[in-house]
């Protein structure tokens, strides 16, 4: 029998407001095994923790129940407290009487009654807890960064600078990501390329960094500190080590009518191409869907022209296996597809464009060489309407768009408006907005300059309809402040499309067993306290894959993720999760069904000799669990009919004891 101490936390009034904490502490005093029960205002505070430590010593406790907030919040805290007082950390159980009680129930009597029951369940469980010791595993001192945008670049550089090897996997032929497509950056209006490309060069030249461009993560096995990743390197039909990036092949390539995705299909490129001048690696890539040679076997111009002999039409996809200690996800974002937004005539008129397309149109390296020209007829637009929140902040359950705020649109629209007015003062600029959100250093000043200095017309209200009529786009909107309909004949309409995670994120999440929210943004281990870690140990989050972010925020998160990775890789050994499956070999039938359901391949079978009660020896096939590989899901425990498989920390006995206590 345990000697259990019960500690009921008030959490200020968070718990004590709805739960009579004294009554809870009193009621739990008489539960089996409980020898001490008390309450305190903030159990998680230093004083609260000391209270627990003192009680452990004074009452010679063997188990601890803390009735407090969610175990997801402070389980680790109290485990450490227990450990420092000499109790095994796994002898601590938390009764969640805040999130799952005081915060969701209003009536004191009801809340108190439930808190007591939850406390009893925790006591019942602790009575069956056993000390657990985590296993140790080594750490591979190399990190993988998935995504070569500014987030990935910054993370990689920071990790590499700390002296660890880093590999970047980028699915495009070059790193750079969305930032490489931008013109200027807010709120300082410095040129994106000017600040990004030096970093790209740094990456290329860093001796600790390898870039796998035009590559994707094929599979991920293993666990924190010991990931085995297979990287699929797409055939680019150009030998990277030989290609000098001279561009001669590109010039001569007869297939010139391939939509240029870098310019958002607003112009064309060749079948062999280098996405942009500062690409890293600066290596040509053959687009197999466009190359005549690859499709028909007739052409071969690039091969003839290449002095370095880098062209290789027989190249195959290559699979590279590598070990990593940590993985950083930096898969970024994309504007959402606007196909469903018929009201803005995006599909009907070439002159209704997204903000990212607008970036390319104003970029000196873009399709118009930086001149703001209408995509339809190449004329200079005189009236431009910017529409904010296209697909952002939609109501829940709406059939299109996202519920969330895309966060960056207000600022880039202000930037766009300002740049237009600066370059083309003859152009009238209207911005339809719901709210202008400018929390950020120098952000609001920036926005006010657009309005006050550059004379951008900000109209609070939404655009109801855009109708192409001849050369103009008839924009019908509402002005909520003046409470009137507004009609503008615009030459160009720029839609601030919502942003969403890259489509590659979801399959990647599955491979990583990392969790995602409903919008496919990766979830953090904790929204406030562990914002750059995924709940999956060893997987970290950098940039917009976790949620909409602007560049400064992305870079700071990238640095934070790097810091976490460095912290992990700096360790020589990792302590595993001791809550893993274990097989009772006396009960095991050797049927292999648990092996079939184990997602980690943690179960193997061996033949073992057993001495039978009649003194004979019998060889039996029995299951064995590799505790370093097991992640503790428990799938095997239910598959096992004899109950030979059980899960440390969540044993059949413990869960049934909880059920019993709850159903008393």
């Amino acid at each position: 029998m345990q000697r259990i101490g019960v500690f009921v936390c008030w959490c200020g009034s968070n718990i004590a407001g709805t739960v009579d904490v004294k009554a809870v502490a009193e009621a739990l005093k008489f539960e089996p095994g409980v020898v001490h029960s008390t309450d305190y205002q903030y159990m998680c505070s230093q004083a609260g923790q000391n209270l627990i430590k003192d009680a452990i010593k004074e009452h010679n406790l063997t188990g601890i129940v803390v009735c407090s907030c969610s175990p997801r919040m402070h389980e680790a805290t109290f485990r450490k407290t227990a450990q420092s007082a000499g109790i095994n950390p796994y002898m601590v159980e938390i009764a969640n009487i805040r999130e799952q009680c005081s915060w969701v129930h209003k009536d004191m009597a009801i809340g108190t009654e439930k808190a007591i029951i939850l406390g009893k369940a925790a006591v019942a469980k602790v009575n069956l807890n056993a000390p657990l010791t985590p296993g140790e595993s080594p750490v591979t001192k190399r990190a993988l960064v998935i995504g070569g945008g500014i987030a990935g670049i910054q993370t990689a550089l920071d990790i590499a600078d700390a002296g660890f090897e880093v590999d970047i996997v980028e699915k495009k032929p070059t790193i750079g990501g969305k930032m490489a497509q931008l013109d200027k950056t807010f709120p300082t209006l410095d040129c994106a390329a000017c600040i990004l490309t030096p970093k790209m060069v740094d990456v290329a030249q860093h001796e600790k960094i390898r870039i796998f461009s035009y590559s994707e993560v094929e599979s991920v096995k293993g666990f924190v500190g010991n990931f085995n990743v297979t990287i699929k390197k797409h055939a680019r039909y150009v030998k990277e080590d030989l290609c000098t990036g001279c561009g001669a092949c590109v010039e001569k390539c007869p297939q010139k009518k391939v939509a240029n995705e870098f310019n958002l299909n607003m112009d064309n490129r060749h079948a062999i191409y280098i996405p942009f001048a500062q690409a890293v690696p600066k290596v040509a890539t053959i687009d197999p869907s466009a190359c005549t040679m690859l499709k028909t076997g007739k052409c071969g111009v690039c091969s003839k022209i290449c002095a370095a002999g880098a062209i290789d039409y027989t190249q195959k996809d290559e699979y590279i296996e590598e070990k990593y200690g940590a993985i950083v996800v930096a898969t970024g974002f994309n504007p959402i597809s606007l196909e469903k937004f018929d009201e803005y005539a995006y599909s009907q008129s070439k002159d209704v464009i997204t903000s990212l397309e607008f970036e390319r149109l104003t970029n000196a390296a873009g399709p118009t060489a930086g001149k703001l020209l209408r995509p339809s007829d190449g004329k200079h637009p005189h009236k431009i309407v910017f529409v904010q929140c296209v697909g952002s902040r939609c109501s829940a359950g709406a059939e299109k768009g996202k519920e969330y705020c895309s966060k960056i649109c207000c600022m880039y629209t202000a930037k766009h408006a300002m740049l237009v007015r600066d370059k083309y003062p003859d152009t009238e600029v209207y911005v339809f907005y719901i709210d202008v959100r400018t929390p950020g250093k120098n952000f609001d000043e920036f926005y006010r300059r657009a309005v006050e200095e550059y004379g951008v017309h900000y109209i609070k209200g939404m655009v109801g309809k855009v109708t192409p009529e001849g050369e103009v786009l008839k924009v019908q909107g509402s002005d909520l402040i003046n409470n009137k309909q507004i009609n503008i004949d615009a030459d160009l309409v720029v839609l601030a499309a919502a942003i969403e995670p890259d489509k590659s994120a979801r399959p990647l999440a599955t491979k990583l067993t990392a969790s995602m929210d409903t919008n496919d943004f990766f979830t953090e281990a904790h929204p406030k306290l562990r914002p750059v870690e995924s709940p999956t140990a060893g997987v970290f989050l950098s940039g917009a894959c976790q949620g909409p972010k602007d560049i400064p925020e992305t870079v700071s998160q990238a640095g934070a993720a790097a810091a976490k990775v460095i912290g992990l890789l700096a360790k020589d050994k990792l302590l595993g999760n001791p809550c893993v499956a274990r097989s009772n070999e006396l009960l095991c039938n050797g049927c292999s069904n648990c092996e079939k359901v184990c997602p980690y391949g943690a179960i193997t079978y061996i033949d073992k000799d057993f001495r039978m009660p009649d003194r004979t020896t019998r060889t039996r096939r029995i299951a064995q669990v590799n505790p370093a590989v097991c992640q503790g899901c428990g799938a095997c425990t239910v598959t096992c009919p004899s109950g030979a498989m059980d899960l440390n920390g969540f044993t059949n006995g413990q869960i049934m004891a909880e059920v019993d206590a709850i159903c008393k």
């Binding site: 006396l586 009960l587 095991c588 039938n589 050797g590 049927c591 292999s592 069904n593 079939k596 359901v597 079978y605 019998r618 039996r620 096939r621 598959t639 009919p641 004899s642 109950g643 030979a644 059949n652 006995g653 049934m656």
Partner: protein, 327 residues
């Protein structure tokens, strides 16, 4: 009438025993009467010739015995397998329950086995039972003779025989049969079409007969756990006698669940039940559900099959939709 004679089997067994192919013969032994046949491990020619029998009352599935006997006995064992026994044989091999090397399996045909309980429903006091073309002729102690048609006195498990085809053997005696069209899910469907109240009444009255003798479990070739959870005081659900209707249900639900996806529908549970509880209807419910929702699956068709409850597809039906089908 079984197409193959006892003599042919004995002859085969003696031959294999004498040429040292096998050391033991797992078969059926004559009883006190014509119907009380006991599985038996024969070791010599004499006993085989005198006491071996293969008749309409050899319903016992011998596959399960291989789990214990292959470990207990040193030499190779000859086992006679009826078509439905071969499914259990394969399933046991899939789960590594015995060493195939130690077994010499002979497939033998089966025309359906008889249920002495059904015969006794019609009469009491049997002096002998003679097999006829249509069924049996029963002579009673009071010197009457009653003829019974086979269809009416088949074992519950044989009424909807799923197959006359053998899926495992080293040697086949007699002719190979076919997988049969059968209506084995009709009774399940009938229950499904009842209201919840009716179903509850049905099962309540059936399961309340349970005396927890464990015959269903101990006869079941899928229940070969080293130690059953119901026998293990540490499992949390151990019990020896059902104290009330809950415990009756608990045992049968858990047992059916444990064999779900592994049960070959051999029907031993219902045959063994001294209280005539139609336990196979629980297992068949799972088989029917599995077939409907996860694709046709017959356990024991081959060694190494992956069972439906240890697999999944991302498109599997939602639990709520399992209820809502056909409504």
């Amino acid at each position: 009438m079984q197409k193959i004679t006892t003599d042919a089997l004995v002859q085969k067994a003696v031959e294999l025993l004498n040429n040292n192919t096998v050391s033991y013969v797992l078969g059926w032994k004559k009883g006190e009467f014509d119907y009380d046949i006991t599985p038996y491990v024969f070791k010599d020619e004499k006993t085989l010739k005198e006491e071996f029998i293969y008749s309409d009352f050899c319903g016992v599935n011998l596959s399960k015995y291989l789990v214990a006997k292959t470990k207990e006995l040193a030499g190779k064992i000859l086992v006679f397998l009826k078509p439905c026994d071969t499914y259990s044989f394969n399933q046991l091999l899939t789960e590594h329950r015995f060493n195939r090397e130690k077994v010499y399996a002979i497939g033998i045909p089966c025309e359906g086995m008889l249920d002495i309980d059904k015969i006794k429903l019609n009469l009491e006091g049997i002096s002998s039972i003679v097999e006829t073309k249509e069924g049996v002729k029963v002579n009673t102690l009071d010197d009457k003779t009653i003829e019974l048609e086979k269809q009416a006195i088949l074992l519950e498990k044989c009424k909807n025989c799923k197959s006359k085809k053998h899926y495992a053997y080293d040697e086949l005696l007699g002719e190979e049969g076919d997988v049969l069209d059968n209506n084995r899910f009709d009774e399940v469907a009938k229950l499904e079409s009842m209201t919840a109240e009716e179903r509850f009444e049905f099962w309540q009255s059936q399961l309340s007969k349970c005396i927890r003798c464990n015959a269903c479990r101990d006869a079941c070739p899928a229940c070969t756990c080293e130690k059953c959870v119901f026998d293990n005081p540490n499992s949390g659900i151990e019990n020896k006698s059902p104290a009330n209707s809950f415990e009756e249900k608990l045992f049968h639900i858990i047992r059916a669940f444990h064999v779900a996806g592994r049960c070959t529908d051999c029907g031993e549970c219902s045959r063994a039940c001294p209280q005539n509880i139609p336990l196979h209807l629980l297992n068949r419910k799972f088989i029917k559900d599995i077939n409907e929702h996860y694709g046709e699956f017959q356990a024991g068709l081959e060694v190494g099959q992956r069972g439906p409850l240890v697999s999944y597809t991302t498109e599997d039906v939602e639990p709520s939709d399992v209820f809502n089908k056909g409504e």
